[in-house]
C-alpha cells in the first residue's frame, strides 16, 4: 500500500492503496463516486471513462499511481442538478438514456470531443463515440444529445 494524492473534481484526495490498483476501484470505493462504471476491465466498452488532463482515460485498466500529477474529472465533476453542464442538460432534454449504465462513458467522451471541436459533424460524433458501447441501443438519441450539447455550449460561449 502507498499513499497517493489524487486531484479529482477540483479537490485533493489522499488514498492509501496498492499503486497498481486500477483508478476505477479507487474512484468508486475510496472516493464513493458512482459515475465511472465497471463494464469489462479490458478497455473495450468505455463505461469507465474519466477525463485526465483533457484526455479520455479508461479507468478500469490504468493504475492509480499514474495519475499522481493529473487533474481528473469524473461525471460528478461536470455539473449539478442546479447547475448542469450543457452536456448533462442536453442528455436530459433528449432523454438519451435507457438503462443508464453506459451514460457516464458517452457523456465523458462527448465532453472530450466538444471541448476540442465545439461544432462536430455527425460523422465526427459517430467516430468519437464509437468506442463507448451501449447495449440497450440508445445511440440514436445519444447522437442527438451530443448535437444539442454542442449547440448549448456554443450558445453559452456566445453569451459570455
Amino acid at each position: 500500500m502507498s499513499r497517493i494524492d489524487l486531484f479529482v473534481n477540483g479537490r485533493t484526495h489522499r488514498v492509501d492503496v496498492d499503486p497498481d490498483t486500477p483508478l476505477l476501484y479507487v474512484l468508486r470505493n475510496d472516493l464513493n463516486l458512482n459515475g465511472p462504471k465497471f463494464g469489462c476491465g479490458l478497455g473495450q466498452c468505455g463505461v469507465c471513462t474519466v477525463i485526465a488532463d483533457g484526455e479520455a482515460v479508461l479507468s478500469c485498466m490504468t493504475p492509480v499511481s499514474s495519475f499522481k500529477r493529473s487533474r481528473i474529472t469524473t461525471l460528478e465533476g461536470l455539473g449539478t442538478p442546479a447547475r448542469p453542464h450543457p452536456i448533462q442538460q442536453a442528455w436530459i432534454e433528449e432523454q438519451a438514456v435507457q438503462c443508464g449504465f453506459c451514460t457516464n462513458g458517452q457523456i465523458m467522451q462527448a465532453k472530450v470531443l466538444l471541448d476540442r471541436n465545439p461544432n462536430p459533424t455527425e460523422p465526427e460524433i459517430r467516430e468519437a463515440l464509437e468506442r463507448v458501447l451501449c447495449r440497450c441501443g440508445a445511440y440514436y438519441r445519444i447522437i442527438r444529445a451530443v448535437k444539442r450539447a454542442g449547440e448549448l455550449m456554443r450558445t453559452a460561449k456566445g453569451q459570455r
Partner: protein
C-alpha cells in the same frame, strides 16, 4: 459514507418506512370518520408479506401532500416509474410532481413478479389504478363528512378538494389524511405474481378523463444517471462491506478437485475462500484484492481430457440436424397439410439457422448481500425479486420471511441474465463471512456464462397452387428449449450456484411457433426439443432473452413469407395482406407502408445483382404481434457490410401512457435486435464458450446506428396498455434479411449477417459491372 443515508436498509420495517414519510392509518368506519391505528407492530413487518388487500399496501399520503405508490413491478431502463406516476396523478387527481414510487422491494411492495414479459403497465396498471380510484373516493368521503357537503358537490384537483360553488373552502389530501394510513380493504383475487388483481368500489377513470396519460413527460430517473448519483445496484455501499468474486471453471463441466488457499497467502486483504459443492468464491477487504485473488487462486480442476459439448459452434447446425429430440409436438394443425403438398403446383422450402446469443449486459451482474442476526437482505439487479427471495431462502435453509430482496436498477437485463445468479452467490458469501458482501462478476462471466437465447434450426415448407395461392404452410422447429433454467430464478437449482452443488432443476420444453394469423387453409406447426449440450452448470444453458421466443422464430417465419411472395413475384406487403385481411397486423402493415412511402413491386428490386464494388440498397418488411417494421439497408458489395440506413416501425400497444418514453423503448428494441441480426453469435469450442468479451462477442456500435428511425405510434385508447417493452424486438431480423434480398437477390438464412457471411454469400454469383 453514502450508506449512512440509507433509509430503506436493514432493520427498517415497512411500517417504519411509512412512518418516516409521516403517515399513519386513516380509516373510514361505519358511522363516519374513525381513526384506527395500524395493528401491525413495527418489529415484525420486515418479514411479513405485503398484503395486496390493504389499500395502505399500495398508497400512502404524507402531510405535505406527497403521494407514495408502492408496487411490485421493476423498471429495466424503460421509464416505468414515470409512467406509473402519470397513472397515479391522473387517477388520484394528485399533483404529478408530488408522486413518488417505490418498486420491487419484497418488504415494502406487493408481489407483482417484478419485470416479466413487458407486463409492467399491462399487469401492474389495473391494480394500481383501482387502488388510486378507491383512495380518491375515500378522500372525497372523508372531505364530505368533514365539510358537511355531499360528495356530488366536491371537486378533486391537484391534491386539493374544493366545494363546487363553495367559495374558498378547500382541504388538501395531506390535511385529510393527516399523517395516518388508509385503512380500507380492496377486493383481492387472492393471487400473487402475474395474476394478482385488486379492485375497489370506485372504477378507474375512462380514457377521456386522463390528462397526464398520453403526455411525453420526461423520465424521472434520468437526472440521477447523468449527475452520477447513487442509482444502480453497483452503487450500493454498506458499512463494513467486503468484496467478493466468484470463480468459474476453466472449461464447462470441470470440477474443483482441490483448492490451494496458500497460493494467495501473499495477497493482502483475503478474508475467506468459500466452497460449496463445486462452487468457489472469494471474499477480500478490497475489490481489486478480490479480482486479483480470484485470478491467482490455484485450483486443481478435474481432467480436461473429456470434452464438454458434443459439438462446437462451427458444427452446431449439422449437430442439430441429427440430434435426438426429447419432445416432439404438433402444436397446431389445420386441414390436411400432407394432401395439400401432394397436390401442390409448386413447393417452396427453406431452413433457417439461429445461433445462441448472449444477454451480454453492459455491466457484469452485481449484488450486495447483508447477513445479520439470522436474516438476509440482498440488493439485486434481478427482474424477479420475489422469486429470488424464495430461492435464496431455500439456498440458505431459512424461512422465506427472513429474506428481503430489494431491487435496484441493474444494467439492462433483457430477461434472465446473469443477475439471477450473482444474488444467490452474494448471499452465500455474506452468510459465510458474516459481513455485508458486494459481489460483481467479471466480463467473461457476463458474456460467456450468462444464460443464452437458444439456437434454433427451423425448416419451413409452403405449398402453392397454379394461381400462386398458398395452400399449405408446414413449420418444423428443432431448437434447444428456451428454459433450461427458469426465468423466474425461484429455486437454487435454477441458478449456477445451485447447479454447481448438483441441485436438480425442472425440465421444460419451450420451443416456439409463429403466431401470425395468415389465413392459409392448411397449416401444421411442429416442434422438437433438443436436449442441452451439457446438462448441468452449462455456460450454454438457456433462458429468456428479450420477448423471448419471437425474435428466434419470427426470423424464420417472416423471412419465409417473403420467400413465398418472391416465388410468385408479388410485393411483400401486398402478398401478406392477401392472408391477413381485417387483422391488426394488416392495419400495421398499411401504416408502416404509408410512412415509408413503400413502392409496390416484387423483390428483389429491378436490376439487383451481385457486383464486385459499390453500394446497393434495398428494403424489407416484417410484421408480428403489435408491430410492423420496414428496414432500408445499404450493402457494401466489396466488404459485405450491411448498414440499416433507416427503420420505420409502426407499433400498437393499447393506450399509450408516455409517447416519448414509448419512442425511446422502440428505438432500443430496434437497435438491440439489429445488433443480434448483424453481429451476435455465441461461439464455443468443445469445452468452453469462447465468446467472452466485447471483442469475441461484438455488438452494434454507434457507427451502425441508422440515420433515421421513424416511429409510428398507433394509439388504441380503448384498449388498456398491452406492454411495449419488447414487442418491437421481433421484426427486425427478418426485415433486414428481406432487405438484403431485395438489394442483392441473395437470401440469407443464417444469423447473424456479418460482413464476412454476407460477402461469402456472394461468392460465385458475381456478374460483371
Amino acid at each position: 459514507m453514502a450508506s449512512g443515508k440509507r433509509t430503506t436498509g436493514k432493520g427498517i420495517s415497512r411500517r417504519g418506512f411509512l412512518k418516516g414519510a409521516g403517515v399513519m392509518i386513516v380509516g373510514f368506519g361505519m358511522g363516519g370518520l374513525t381513526c384506527v391505528l395500524d395493528p401491525r407492530t413495527s418489529a415484525a413487518d420486515f418479514s411479513s408479506a405485503v398484503d395486496p388487500a390493504k389499500l395502505s399496501s399500495w398508497l400512502a399520503i404524507g402531510r405535505d401532500n406527497t403521494v407514495t405508490l408502492f408496487f411490485g413491478k421493476v423498471d429495466v431502463g424503460q421509464g416505468l416509474a414515470t409512467a406509473f406516476r402519470q397513472l397515479v396523478a391522473d387517477e388520484l387527481d394528485a399533483p404529478f410532481d408530488r408522486v413518488r414510487v417505490v418498486m420491487g422491494d419484497t418488504a415494502l411492495t406487493v408481489d407483482q413478479v417484478g419485470a416479466s414479459a413487458s407486463s409492467g403497465l399491462r399487469e401492474g396498471g389495473p391494480s394500481v389504478r383501482s387502488a388510486c380510484a378507491e383512495a380518491r373516493l375515500m378522500l372525497l368521503e372523508i372531505a364530505s363528512a368533514r365539510m358537511g357537503v355531499p360528495i356530488e358537490r366536491l371537486d378533486a384537483h391537484e391534491g386539493v378538494i374544493t366545494v363546487r360553488g363553495g367559495g374558498k373552502r378547500a382541504l388538501s389530501y395531506g390535511e385529510l389524511v393527516s399523517g395516518k394510513h388508509f385503512n380500507a380493504t380492496l377486493n383481492w383475487n387472492g393471487q400473487l405474481g402475474h395474476p394478482l388483481n385488486v379492485t375497489g368500489r370506485a372504477l378507474p377513470k375512462g380514457p377521456d378523463q386522463l390528462k397526464l396519460v398520453g403526455q411525453s413527460i420526461p423520465r424521472d430517473d434520468i437526472p440521477s444517471v447523468v449527475f452520477g448519483r447513487e442509482h444502480h445496484v453497483v452503487d450500493v455501499r454498506l458499512p463494513r462491506m467486503k468484496h467478493g468474486r466468484s470463480i468459474k471453471p476453466p472449461f464447462a463441466g470441470a470440477r474443483p478437485l482441490s483448492v490451494d488457499t496458500g497460493s494467495i497467502s501473499r495477497i493482502p486483504g483475503v478474508i475467506e475462500v468459500v466452497r460449496r459443492g463445486d462452487y468457489v468464491g472469494i471474499v477480500c477487504d478490497r475489490e481489486e484484492q478480490a479480482v486479483r485473488a480470484a485470478s491467482e487462486l490455484k485450483i486443481v480442476w478435474s481432467e480436461a481430457s473429456e470434452v464438454s459439448f458434443p459439438t462446437d459452434s462451427t458444427g452446431l447446425f449439422d449437430y442439430m440436424r441429427q440430434a435426438p429430440s426429447r419432445s416432439d409436438r404438433v402444436v397446431d394443425q389445420i386441414g390436411d397439410v400432407d394432401e395439400a403438398f401432394a397436390r401442390a403446383a409448386r413447393i417452396v422450402e427453406a431452413t433457417y439457422e439461429v445461433p445462441f446469443t448472449s444477454h451480454a449486459s453492459m455491466g457484469p451482474a452485481c449484488a450486495v448481500a447483508d447477513w445479520r442476526a439470522g436474516e438476509m437482505t440482498v440488493w439485486s439487479g434481478t427482474q424477479k425479486p420475489y422469486d429470488q427471495r424464495t430461492g435464496i431462502a431455500a439456498l440458505l435453509g431459512i424461512p422465506r420471511e427472513k429474506v428481503r430482496v430489494i431491487w435496484k436498477p441493474g444494467p439492462g437485463s433483457y430477461g434472465r441474465n446473469d443477475a439471477g445468479d450473482v444474488a444467490y452467490e452474494a448471499a452465500l458469501l455474506s452468510k459465510e463471512v458474516g459481513r455485508p458482501v458486494r459481489l460483481q462478476s467479471m466480463r467473461h462471466e457476463a458474456t460467456a456464462w450468462d444464460p443464452k437465447a437458444p439456437a434454433a434450426l427451423i425448416s419451413v415448407r409452403g405449398a402453392l397452387d397454379g394461381a400462386g395461392n398458398v395452400t399449405a404452410f408446414d413449420w418444423d422447429n428443432r431448437s434447444f428449449s428456451h428454459q433450461d433454467v427458469a426465468p423466474s430464478e425461484n429455486a437454487p437449482g435454477e441458478t449456477l450456484l445451485g447447479q454447481f452443488q448438483g441441485l436438480r432443476r425442472e425440465v421444460r420444453n419451450v420451443v416456439g411457433t409463429p403466431s401470425e394469423p395468415y389465413s392459409f387453409p392448411n397449416k401444421r406447426l411442429t416442434t422438437h426439443t433438443i436436449p442441452p449440450l451439457l446438462q448441468m452448470a452449462s455456460p450454454l444453458r438457456t433462458s429468456h432473452l428479450r420477448l423471448p421466443v419471437p425474435p428466434v422464430i419470427t426470423f424464420a417465419s417472416e423471412s419465409f413469407i417473403d420467400e413465398l411472395a418472391a416465388s410468385v413475384a408479388a410485393d411483400a406487403i401486398e402478398f401478406r395482406l392477401r392472408y391477413l385481411a381485417g387483422s391488426r397486423q394488416a392495419r400495421l402493415l398499411k401504416a408502416v407502408a404509408e410512412a415509408a412511402s413503400w413502392e409496390t413491386r416484387p423483390s428483389p428490386k429491378a436490376g439487383a445483382r451481385i457486383v464486385s464494388t459499390g453500394i446497393v440498397t434495398g428494403r424489407g418488411v416484417a410484421v408480428r404481434g403489435g408491430a410492423a417494421t420496414i428496414a432500408e439497408v445499404e450493402v457494401d458489395m466489396q466488404t459485405g457490410r450491411v448498414w440499416v440506413k433507416r427503420f420505420v416501425c409502426a407499433h400498437a400497444c393499447g393506450l399509450i401512457v408516455n409517447p416519448d418514453g414509448l419512442r425511446n423503448v422502440i428505438e432500443g428494441n430496434l437497435m438491440h435486435s439489429m445488433s443480434r441480426a448483424l453481429c451476435e453469435e455465441v461461439r464455443f469450442d468443445r469445452s468452453r464458450v469462447t465468446s467472452a468479451d466485447w471483442s469475441s462477442y461484438p455488438i452494434a456500435t454507434m457507427a451502425d446506428t441508422p440515420d433515421k428511425i421513424d416511429k409510428i405510434l398507433v394509439n388504441e385508447p380503448d384498449i388498456p396498455p398491452k406492454g411495449a417493452g419488447e414487442e418491437t424486438s421481433a421484426q427486425t431480423q427478418p426485415a433486414i434479411a428481406n432487405a438484403i434480398f431485395d438489394a442483392t437477390g441473395v437470401r440469407l438464412r443464417r444469423l447473424p449477417f456479418t460482413a464476412e457471411r454476407v460477402k461469402a454469400s456472394f461468392a460465385g454469383r458475381e456478374s460483371s459491372g
